[in-house]
Symmetry: C2
Subunit: 315 residues, 2 copies
């Protein structure tokens, strides 16, 4: 097939890969694949017990005794902690910056906007954006200071970084922000021969998904009923495929492919031919999809009003 894009390959073997949010879900699935492909893998997350269990799984995937595998506990919500975590995992590599960074940390708490407290709003940005942005910020400084060429940084946004609907007023802004950061850096990193990539997963059936469903309003669950979702393993495979191929915007399922094509901004094309087709599908299909979503929300008005009364919103 004739393809307009010319992409470089990338091989994890012998590379130091830094995976944040690596103790569960997408991050853990990705870490295990990278280990199985011969990479040195460092994971960071908050919960030490989960990290210990994750390291056992990573050890089981080991293919060479020389692979350096480590799991460290860190909170990544600010610049200082993210820099410290990065420096800690680089110690085992004599302080050399990682070859590849995958910022998989993050969580979401869907709820109605009018019920969000100041803290809910801040948490949305902290756990959707800063938890990844500070690591990208710290790693970039390290890479440029060390004049390391050819490194790759991949953030994890969401399908909700390309579009949005009711329920995600604290999460979608953060995931859109990540996309803005990735697109800026894709351009700016040409100064340093670093690659900025970003993955837009659909629903991932992970521990985080179970948590987010606890607060998710029923009307949102109804809208999402059509979203098929991926297992963490499927998402990690798809993410790595696009990462290796050098896609700047990575998607791993047809629905996100379609939204990505219709929301491409200034990002380099993944495939000039397929994207034209997806763009056409999105041009015609999204308004139809929207109509059903809008209908579900409008149909929920009366029930929502009762709900707000019951919750004491009107005082």
């Amino acid at each position: 097939m004739f393809v307009f894009s010319f992409k470089k390959g990338w091989n994890p073997d012998g590379k130091h890969c830094y995976v944040t949010g690596g103790s569960s879900g997408l991050g853990l699935a990705l870490a295990k694949i990278l280990v199985a492909k011969g990479a040195h893998v460092s994971i960071v997350a908050r919960d030490q017990a989960k990290l210990d269990a994750a390291l056992v799984e990573m050890e089981a995937a080991r293919v060479s005794p020389s692979q350096k595998l480590q799991a460290k506990s860190a909170d990544l919500l600010n610049a200082t902690a993210s820099t410290a975590a990065l420096e800690a995992v680089c110690e085992l590599h004599d302080g050399a910056a990682p070859d590849a960074v995958f910022t998989c940390a993050g969580s979401s708490k869907p709820m109605f906007f009018v019920e969000m407290t100041e803290q809910d709003m801040k948490d949305g940005m902290d756990y959707g954006y800063w938890v990844q942005a500070w690591t990208v910020w710290a790693v970039t400084k390290m890479l440029v200071k060390q004049k390391k060429r050819g490194a790759k940084i991949c953030m994890v946004s969401s399908m909700l970084g390309l579009m949005s609907f009711a329920g995600y007023a604290s999460y979608a802004p953060a995931k859109h922000a990540l996309r803005g950061l990735a697109d800026t850096l894709q351009s700016e990193f040409m100064l340093y021969d670093i690659e900025s990539q970003i993955f837009f997963p659909p629903t991932i059936y992970s521990p985080g998904y179970v948590t987010e469903n606890k607060t998710k309003p029923d009307v949102i669950k109804k809208i999402e009923g059509t979203d098929e979702g991926l297992t963490p393993e499927q998402a990690a495979q798809g993410m790595l495929k696009g990462f290796v191929r050098g896609d700047n915007h990575i998607s791993a399922d047809l629905l996100t492919d379609i939204f990505r094509a219709g929301t491409r901004g200034s990002a380099p094309r993944v495939n000039f031919v397929f994207e034209a087709i997806y763009d056409f599908i999105s041009y015609v299909g999204v308004p139809i999809w929207r109509r059903s979503v809008d209908g579900a929300i409008r149909g929920h008005r009366e029930e929502h009003d009762k709900y707000l009364h019951l919750r004491g919103f009107f005082g």
Copy 2:
């Protein structure tokens, strides 16, 4: 001409319009137009001297003695202050929520990512996102509590909320985040009969533009050389035109029209026919535009390396 969209009109006459960032640039230009069309206009900004001068200009545009015009000083960077500012301007209207809200507050500080401090990154989100988001958050709670129907909220993003390039790693994420918030609310507000709209201006030749050019790296100025820009008056006219027409995504110049069409996500269409044409232009044209931008950045590598050495970046 045959148009697929069916938009409602909107008349500022007699409406209470709340304009943040109303003491200069886009906000002031918009406030004056709204006054001239018979609206009650409340502006909020930080600098009392600028507010006083702005109020004089607004008074000069007054068309009726019954119009309520006011200018109040407030910092909009947190939830409490934004709620207080909103409540303060509503006092003159017996506590009734505004009919229309235009969040024009914000600023940008373009610079290289590797030179950004923790504070630069935080400021980017504060002055690009939160300075508007907290007002939207406060106004929405007020509108829903008062069960006010038909109100309209318009945020101000940027062309850099639809795409990005080098220099805007603190600003583009914030402007993308606003777009994520507006798109979420466009869907969620169907529960309350409120309208969420968002304006994507190109360069506006405002006092803010003069300030941002002080830190802007030369290579960015070179890339932006092709961007024509609008005066605050032109931008305000274009914004209001889209606002009145009910466009959810508002753009006021051809270049942004083109980027908007290629970055539409799940937003309702402004015009099904024109957008197909713009989308095609963006599909073919953006990669060509990118090539020149990428070339400018790659050509700047050596000079940038010298610059970082001179700045002592490598220690």
